[in-house]
Symmetry: C2
Amino acid sequence: METQDLRNAGLKVTLPRVKILEILEKQTTKRHLTAEQVYKILLEEGEDIGLATIYRVLTQFETAGLVTRHHFEGGNSVFELDSGKHHDHIVCIKCGKVDEFVDPIIEEHQAKIADKLGYSLTDHSLYLYGFCSDCKNL
Amino acid sequence: METQDLRNAGLKVTLPRVKILEILEKQTTKRHLTAEQVYKILLEEGEDIGLATIYRVLTQFETAGLVTRHHFEGGNSVFELDSGKHHDHIVCIKCGKVDEFVDPIIEEHQAKIADKLGYSLTDHSLYLYGFCSDCKNL
DNA sequence: TTGATTGCAAAGAATTTGCACTGGG
DNA sequence: CCCAGTGCAAATTCTTTGCAATCAA
């Protein structure tokens, strides 16, 4: 339950935090949301939580490691519940659909490249962009 | 010479455009600049070109395929002269140094993944982040 | 000449912050 | 009760736009 997640993260259990965490956990198909989208979902559920608070809470979640922030093409940030396991993303430039994947060979080569260039890797981001199966024939 | 590049791109040859293109071509070590950085370099050279113009010109260059725009971590866009050949980037999170690389195996696997997930790929962005050789021991 | 290009200042979009108020522990 | 957390509006940051003046062809 969310309450415990919040406590574990060292965050006081407040209504906005619980609600926002709920929203994120509830997402099955669309795991990646902008602050704005979270805001709208909350409004639909009758919760009147300020947009500023959503940004603040999501940033806290990010710091606490509960959530990951991505900068997809186009500018605005999207947030995703951190599942614990690393993965990369492929994004449909038409409908916004996002799929996740992991490719061990790619991961391995990234490490190799960083090494060859003398970098010690801390992070990486790989985004593929294209048309998903539903959009490519339109 | 820049004049010809501009003409080929269908752009009228104006002072701001020539100057900005010069700046970009002059970069050897630091090929990736923000609009702000271009602006400052121009000021140092005594050219008084408005920041808005720089954004406009860089956007035109992007459209014309002369320049590529990247969204590195942190938000602001950086522009790089388009060398014609695709490459990915590794960025030092301490000093901002950027290296470029290409890995055929990674490219190949990306295509494979997109295919498996039913996407037709149009583009991708791969950024590795870490400490470069100069920064990792500090 | 004349439409394209600039500069400036103002508008926008996304995100953050200041501050008085509220609520969780 | 008391301080962390919130809401709102104002501030920031990066980027784009409107419009009159200017410039290249």
